[in-house]
């Protein structure tokens, strides 16, 4: 079923009885050309691009629970390409370009909204580093604008400009950045993949791999054994658990990150604002709720729920940036499990097992990467070559001394 204005009109006049399910619920086949483990944004996008841009083979996505129930449906939906390092910026810019054409490509309203992402600066040193980053972005074909305090004031007059310790001195603005509706991204990719023949199999947990003579033969699942020529794993926070069953130890720790939504307000915050003196980022959803978050909880966790100190810290940061937040009521909060890597950058790579590929280490920033991650992973799976924007995302980069450490924190995942 193709969505169009005409279709909406027709359904409106006939009581919305014609909308069917958006994807099938197929029985797993005994074997596939490609099995993708994990039905999050990255797994679904991988299957979609494999089917639409690369191999036309038989493809399945195996999801432990329901699609969209992982981080793809838990994030604060910010999309941007404002990275500094060469290993990262071309990849994220590629992703942003894919976002720009996504809805037409998928025939699905993912509510991609390029409302601008503004990173505030509070010191001269921060301004210098913002300028450097902005230039790196422009050199990679992206867009960046450095605003002074008046420029920021014109956009967001209600911010705490005159704070004695952290006055707002300006900000780095990426106008093409913004937000997207996270669930719709999962659903759009799922529907697009399904329409191209991909089997999306939910309630199917991968419990191990069948490996012989250094080659993967298939996956053991809660719904039986499924053979596959190639297996791509994209399970985000569960990366270590799944790859452990293939005998691998990863440069990843799992941590919990929380997100928050306030009661609905009239339109107040037109874009995305990030605080430079604390960890806090905020935007406003189309329903009116303020969507915001901050630091991870700092300790290893698989609990999908956080603790109160992190909540307090986020609220304090938020109120110190936007004092008016003190009058707003918090509606709900939740957590998701982040695959925090040792340098804060991801992996899209082969493993030492032939036919087994790994995608992970997205930390708290993998939503914006969803289109490019899927595209580049599909490229690797189909051609056995790395996509030109993802050559640096290798599992052996620590051994080779080629870390991609945007923050320069070293091998301390909770600080990235």
């Amino acid at each position: 079923m193709t969505y169009s204005a005409f279709r909406i009109l027709k359904e409106a006049l006939t009581g919305h009885k014609g909308w069917g399910p958006q994807w099938r619920d197929p029985v797993p086949q005994p074997d596939y050309d490609y099995v993708i483990v994990g039905g999050g944004g990255h797994g679904l996008a991988t299957a979609y691009y494999l089917a639409s841009k690369f191999d036309q083979g038989r493809i399945a996505v195996l999801e432990k629970r329901w699609i969209g129930g992982g981080n793809v449906g838990r994030n604060t939906t910010i999309i941007r390409s404002n990275y500094l390092l060469d290993g990262n910026e071309p990849f994220y810019e590629f992703s942003l370009k894919l976002w720009e054409g996504l809805e037409r490509d998928l025939n699905y309203n993912a509510m991609v909204s390029q409302r601008g992402v503004l990173n505030l600066v509070h010191t001269d040193a921060q301004r210098d580093s913002a300028r450097r980053r902005g230039n790196a972005m422009i050199l990679n074909g992206s867009d960046a604008e450095l605003l002074d305090a008046d420029g920021v004031r014109a956009m967001y007059p209600f911010l705490n400009f005159e704070d004695a310790r952290f006055p707002i001195k300006g900000g780095l603005l990426q106008r093409r950045g913004g937000t997207a509706r996270h669930d719709a991204v999962a659903w759009g990719y799922a529907r697009g993949a399904d329409r191209r023949g991909v089997d999306i199999i939910q309630n199917c947990e991968v419990t191990g791999f069948r490996i012989k003579d250094g080659k993967v033969l298939g996956v053991e699942t809660s719904r039986g054994y499924i053979a596959a020529d190639k297996v791509g794993v994209a399970v985000a926070g569960s990366s270590s658990r799944v790859m452990e069953t293939a005998g691998m130890r990863l440069p990843i720790e799992s941590h919990v990150l929380q997100a928050f939504v306030s009661e609905g307000l009239k339109p107040t915050i037109s874009g995305v604002i990030t605080y430079g003196a604390g960890h806090f980022y905020c935007s406003q959803s189309d329903k009116g709720g303020l969507v915001f978050g901050g630091d991870i909880d700092m300790y290893n966790s698989y609990a999908q729920r956080g603790n109160l100190p992190a909540v307090e810290d986020v609220m304090e940061s938020g109120i110190s940036l936007i004092p008016a937040l003190g009058r707003v009521r918090l509606l709900r909060s939740w957590g998701g499990i982040m695959d925090m890597s040792m340098d804060g950058s991801p992996f899209i790579d082969r493993t030492h097992i032939e036919g087994l590929y790994f995608n992970g280490g997205w930390c708290y920033g993998g939503f914006k990467a969803t289109p490019a991650s899927g595209y580049c992973f599909a490229h690797l799976l189909a051609t056995d070559r790395r996509h030109e924007t993802a050559t640096a995302y290798r599992l052996d980069r620590f051994r080779r001394g080629c870390m991609i450490d945007e923050k320069g924190q070293g091998a301390q995942p909770n600080l990235h």
Partner: protein, 95 residues
């Protein structure tokens, strides 16, 4: 979370800084044949279990001692707290 400090009794986890897996106590021998590989693994690879995890916490806003906390990463329940000093000595470190 409350961490039951072996010397100071129950303390709010907020007083602590988290470092990570307690295997970081076992720094490899830099003179060993395979020191480069051992340091790579030591620094960058983690078991990252879902369940019981032994980990290092630093009592930064307290007595500045390092603790080895055994905690369940699925429930956040803490089952044992030891002084890292004692654990390191048991493992033959810091003589």
């Amino acid at each position: 979370m409350i961490i039951n400090h072996p010397i100071l009794g129950p303390r709010d986890a907020q007083e602590f800084t988290y470092l990570g897996d307690a295997n970081l106590i076992d720094r490899p021998d830099w003179r060993a044949e395979n020191a480069i590989k051992a340091f790579h693994d030591y620094l960058h690879l983690r078991d990252n279990p879902a369940g019981e995890h032994r980990e290092l916490w630093f009592h930064e806003q307290g007595d500045r001692s390092w603790l080895v906390v055994t905690r369940d990463t699925l429930t956040h329940e803490i089952t044992s707290v030891e002084l890292a000093r004692d654990v390191a000595r048991e493992r033959g470190r810091g003589k």
